[in-house]
């Protein structure tokens, strides 16, 4: 998940960015509304979720949101604020916010709400995703996005993944049936410190396959040479849905 945080409290921004990094997500933080709007307008498609404070310098969060929506951008937005009256919440939601969280908040709740919004981007509502188990004999896996766990269905083995590995698997799973390019993986899972033209994505996929694939079985992650990686949709899934994500 790639997140943009617009929060002028340095200490709070530090806490949130640290937590999201530790959870395996890519998060970018800015301290004023004008910069936040510029990033969202220029690279809105790069962000799965934008977390906005309301009381911001240069441009407040509600104005930022209204301008974002006026520009036709559909980035999921979670408003983060200390203003807790019903009028404030209604105003925020009517301005186009997808969710609203009042300070102080539980960090886990913020993380869970942001992840739920990110799933929504790919039309996934069910937090439990099943992949593999198709006719090719790929290892069937159950991914619990709420608990952030992966279980091999053949032997009920919980697979221990690093936050980055889990994030990669979840990212490919929610986009099952779609070829995901290396660039997209880099953008959404690696911050700007990743060097361009590196093989960090290939290495990560390789490492992930070793963890999740059962011995002797084809990998659930397929390589499309020159294009990227894909997790196949099992046969029998409906057209227009995300069949791999139904548990």
């Amino acid at each position: 998940m790639r997140v943009l945080l617009v929060e002028d409290s340095v200490r709070l921004a530090t806490a949130i960015t640290t937590g999201f990094h530790k959870a395996g997500h890519v998060i970018e933080a800015v301290g004023d509304g004008a910069t936040g709007l510029r990033l969202l307008l220029n690279g809105a498609d790069d962000f799965d979720v934008a977390i906005l404070d309301i009381m911001l310098p240069e441009m407040d969060g509600l104005t930022l949101l209204e301008r974002l929506r006026a520009a036709g951008k559909q980035t999921h937005v979670l408003l983060l604020t200390a203003k807790d009256t019903v009028d404030d919440r209604v105003r925020g939601l009517r301005a186009g916010a997808d969710d609203y969280l009042i300070k102080p908040f539980a960090f886990e709740e913020l993380l869970a709400r942001a992840e739920a919004l990110a799933r929504r981007r790919y039309g996934v509502k069910n937090p439990k995703l099943r992949i593999g188990g198709g006719e090719d004999g790929a290892t069937p896996l159950l991914i619990d996005t709420a608990a952030r766990t992966v279980t091999r269905c053949t032997d009920d083995l919980k697979i221990d993944l690093s936050p980055r590995e889990y994030a990669l698997l979840e990212y490919l799973a929610v986009r099952a049936g779609t070829v995901v390019s290396r660039t997209e993986i880099e953008t959404n899972l690696y911050d700007s410190q990743a060097e361009p033209m590196s093989n960090v994505v290939d290495a990560a996929v390789y490492s992930l396959r070793k963890r999740i694939d059962a011995p002797g079985r084809p990998s659930v992650i397929h390589t499309r040479r020159g294009m990227g990686y894909v997790i196949e949709v099992p046969a029998g899934a409906g057209i227009g849905s995300s069949p791999a994500v139904r548990s």
Binding site: D8, S9, R11, L12, T14, A15, I16, T18, G19, K22, G31, D32, M55, L56, P57, D60, A82, K83, D84, T85, I102, K103, P104, F105, A106, F107, E108, L110
Partner: protein, 508 residues
């Protein structure tokens, strides 16, 4: 009598409408009854008077026909035994008369009487005059009678009548008497008709008056009733949504509506200020709490890997705690000094203004230096102010804190004393004239966010105003060109007030 309203039954006795209606009805009905009674009485008297006058005229006419042949009589009545049409009426059985001479002998009687006598006896009065009385007629009908005591004229020889020029009368005493008895049935009918007419009129008038009074009172008090219903429907949560329509009100109610609207405006503003203060205070406290919570939760979930990370985390927690502490301290100070009535509470003692200013500025010198600010202190050495020193010091601290936080970098500021006051001036930065109306509002800051001035939560100048009020000095703010000026003004100190000696004074 009562009517229902949204708030239950309203008894008319407790309402202006009820009281006015009852009193008006009672008054007008009593007046109507009295008027009708008076009219009946007057008309009855007039009708009877006319009847009596007619009776008297007929009696006089009869007495004028009685002639005495000499001073000692006898009396003659020329129409005795003859038909007298005026004593017969087609629709009634006629009237009666009888005439007696001074000796009491009957001289004449009406044919209707026949050979009988009037059942009533004439009076024994010997003076000339009339007497009216009621008595039943010989045929039993109700009668009204007149007795005329008169002295007949003595007839002239050969004429049988006395001429006015030479008329002589019999001695006045004892007089001759005539009693004329008339049927008063028609009079009674007339009086009865009059009474019934007036009674019906009174009842009709009473009914019409009742309806009119009720309608007029209800209609007249409609504006008041409407205002009362509007007032009853006021919602304390949405005072701004309602105002009484002044234009449609009568002159007596318009001033009331104006005052009510003014009060609603003030009340609405006060509520809005309170809501805003509570919301802003909550906002200022929630952010550092959110920081502390998030930092702690992240550190617990993913413990810092190194000592440096751990230390950095604790420093952030400490900064948030201090931020919250400064907000709480400012709020408590505000609560302690705030008084809605604006009255001065704190008594003071004479203080040297220059000393207090120097003490207050000393703690800000480092911050000013870091921002390249230069402060010029120019105050008379002997300027005295009677005030509570700690509060004055806190007031100046807040003003200087404002200077060091918000004056433009590398700019100049000054604190200059004048007669009974001082002014603190610094570069205004981005402040405008429109901002002046809000700068003392709790939690107001030019920049609504908290980016770089965590210690300033927007209560500094609010506290300055409360401090000033507490020690009885006037504080105001102005923008003059590119300068923001804070002015403190006070009443002159007593000439006899001794100049206090302080360390600063001794050092100088």
């Amino acid at each position: 009598m009562s009517r229902e309203s949204d708030r239950g039954t309203i008894t008319m006795s407790g309402s202006i409408q009820g009281r006015v209606t009852k009193r008006l009805l009672l008054g007008t009905l009593l007046a109507g009854v009295a008027a009708n009674a008076g009219i009946y009485s007057i008309l009855r008297h007039e009708v009877k008077e006319q009847f009596d006058l007619a009776l008297e005229a007929r009696a006089r006419a009869l007495t004028s026909l009685v002639i005495a042949e000499s001073e000692r009589g006898p009396l003659t009545f020329p129409f005795a035994g003859r038909e007298q049409p005026e004593f017969r009426h087609r629709q009634r059985r006629g009237d009666y008369f009888q005439i007696w001479d001074p000796q009491g002998n009957t001289v004449a009687r009406s044919l209707s009487l026949g050979n009988g006598n009037l059942p009533m006896e004439p009076s024994k009065l010997d003076s000339i005059g009339d007497r009216l009385f009621d008595a039943p007629l010989p045929d039993g009908r109700p009668g009204h009678c007149i007795e005329v005591r008169f002295a007949p004229f003595i007839s002239q020889p050969g004429s049988g009548f006395a001429t006015s020029e030479h008329a002589r009368q019999m001695p006045l005493s004892p007089p001759a008497r005539l009693v004329l008895a008339a049927d008063r049935e028609e009079l009674n009918i007339t009086l009865g008709t009059l009474f019934r007419t007036l009674a019906v009129s009174a009842v009709s008038l009473a009914a019409a008056t009742t309806m009119l009074v009720v309608f007029v009172v209800r209609d007249g008090l409609r504006p008041l009733r409407r205002m009362a219903e509007e007032a009853a429907g006021l919602d304390a949560e949405h005072l701004d949504a309602h105002r009484f329509a002044e234009a449609d009100l009568p002159d007596e109610l318009r001033p009331i509506a104006q005052r009510l609207n003014d009060s609603l405006s003030k009340l609405g503003s006060a509520f809005a200020r309170e809501r805003r203060f509570t919301s802003d205070a909550a906002h200022e406290l929630r952010t550092p709490i959110a920081e502390i919570r998030s930092l702690s939760e992240v550190a617990l979930r993913w413990p810092p890997a190194t000592a440096q990370e751990n230390e950095a985390n604790y420093r952030l927690l400490l900064a948030s705690a201090r931020q919250m502490e400064s907000v709480v301290a400012a709020l408590l100070t505000l609560a302690r000094h705030h008084r809605e009535d604006g009255q001065t509470r704190v008594s003071g003692e004479p203080v040297l203004v220059a000393d207090v200013v120097a003490d207050a500025w000393r703690s800000h010198e480092t911050a000013a230096l870091a921002r390249g600010l230069t402060m010029t202190l120019d105050l008379p050495a002997d300027q005295i102010l009677v005030a509570d020193r700690p509060i004055l010091l806190a007031l100046l601290h807040n003003l200087f804190s404002n200077v060091t936080a918000y004056a433009p970098l590398d700019s100049a500021a000054s604190c200059v004393g004048r007669d009974h006051g001082l002014s603190i001036a610094n570069g205004r930065g981005s402040l405008t004239q429109d901002d002046l109306a809000q700068i003392t509002r709790p939690f107001w800051r030019k920049e609504a966010s908290r980016s770089s001035r965590d210690a300033h939560v927007g209560l500094g100048l609010t506290l300055v105003m409360e401090y000033a009020r507490a020690i009885g000095i006037n504080c105001s703010f102005a923008i003059d060109g590119d300068q923001f000026i804070a002015r403190l003004d006070w009443t002159p100190a007593d000439r006899e007030t001794p100049i206090p000696e302080t360390e600063n004074a001794r050092a100088r």
